[in-house]
């Protein structure tokens, strides 16, 4: 695939590295000479210096041939404009836009940007998961006709569920356990009959929006 990235930011460069390792063709646009120099030293001649919200720059970067356009600069308004230009003027099939708050997500989706990624929320989710401050963390909304949620439940050391199996517990309808992660190994077979231990991470799918009921169950 041919992928054009806007923003030689840490994020943009990490995306480039991952794609290049997978043998994709990557071009990266930025207007900061210093950031571009670092990118070129790291990856070679994949850089285009210029304003990614100008048609000429996008054209130089080969956007007309791109399968995917990823806007990962630190300006949300420029990310938006460049994605709209990639889509409307260069007919790029898939445009992805990085945002840093929930503020613009619904607007950007209305504007036909194919994927809007909240970088802050993604990092926060990761930190929450690792700090285990919350017992239950939503990992992903699963888009379907009946909304479902992929969640992770960490078994607290004082939890009353320790020593019980999942089939002993009275789960609400529409809740199903997919796996248990225990000290770095994954238990997938007969998860229902596995006795829970402190610090186990239970990964499950639920259709309930209200996670409080589940929280009580695992206290």
């Amino acid at each position: 695939m041919n992928i054009v990235i806007f923003g030689a930011t840490t994020l943009g460069r990490s995306i480039a590295e991952w794609l290049l390792n997978d043998w994709h063709e990557v071009s990266i646009i930025d207007n900061d000479a210093l950031r571009l120099k670092g990118t070129e030293d790291q990856f070679g001649s994949i850089i285009i210096e210029g304003d990614a919200t100008h048609q000429a720059t996008l054209s130089l970067a080969g956007t007309s041939r791109a399968d995917v356009f990823i806007a990962a600069s630190d300006s949300e308004s420029e990310n938006m404009t460049s994605c709209q230009m990639a889509k409307e003027l260069f007919n790029v099939k898939r445009t992805m836009c990085v945002v840093y708050s929930d503020e613009n997500i619904s607007l950007f989706q209305l504007l036909n940007i194919d994927s809007v990624i909240n970088a802050t929320a993604a990092s926060l989710r990761f930190i929450k998961e690792n700090l285990s401050a919350d017992l239950i963390i939503s990992l992903m909304d699963i888009p379907s006709s009946t909304p479902a949620n992929l969640i992770s439940i960490r078994i607290h050391q004082d939890s009353e569920t320790i020593g019980k199996t999942l089939s002993d517990l009275n789960f609400p309808n529409g809740f199903s356990i997919k796996m248990i992660i225990r000290s770095g190994t994954v238990i997938e077979n007969s998860v229902d009959k596995t006795m829970l231990r402190a610090n186990d991470q239970v990964v499950a799918i639920t259709d309930s929006i209200n996670l409080d009921e589940l929280k009580e169950l695992f206290q």
């Binding site: 919200t53 100008h54 048609q55 000429a56 300006s75 949300e76 308004s77 420029e78 938006m80 404009t81 709209q84 230009m85 409307e88 003027l89 503020e103 613009n104 619904s106 607007l107 209305l110 504007l111």
Partner: protein, 94 residues
């Protein structure tokens, strides 16, 4: 013009909270005139699509963006074009 008809707000016009502060829902016409094309485009699209302001005008300096946003139903004023036109006009007069 009476100065008490003009009220200034300090805020970020790309943020919904700040737009609500200026009673965007009761606004008849929204004009974005910062010197950033992208910030103007973000503010007017938000006003139009999220807050239902029918009449939006967006100041743009770049011709390629003008075509794009006109297609998306935004009224564009391209000030580079206006400046060039008036330069040509005044040079013809002399």
């Amino acid at each position: 013009m009476h100065s008490d008809l003009i009220v200034g707000f300090l805020g970020d016009a790309t943020l919904s909270d700040d737009l609500k502060e200026i009673e965007i829902l009761d606004t008849d016409l929204f004009i974005a005139t910062t010197n950033s094309d992208s910030i103007n485009a973000l503010a007017v699209q938000k006003a139009k699509l999220l807050f239902g302001v029918d009449n939006v005008i967006c100041l743009i300096s770049d011709v390629s963006k003008q075509k794009l946003y006109e297609r998306l139903g935004v009224k564009i004023v391209n000030y580079s074009e206006i400046i060039i036109e008036s330069l040509i006009h005044s040079s013809l007069e002399n």
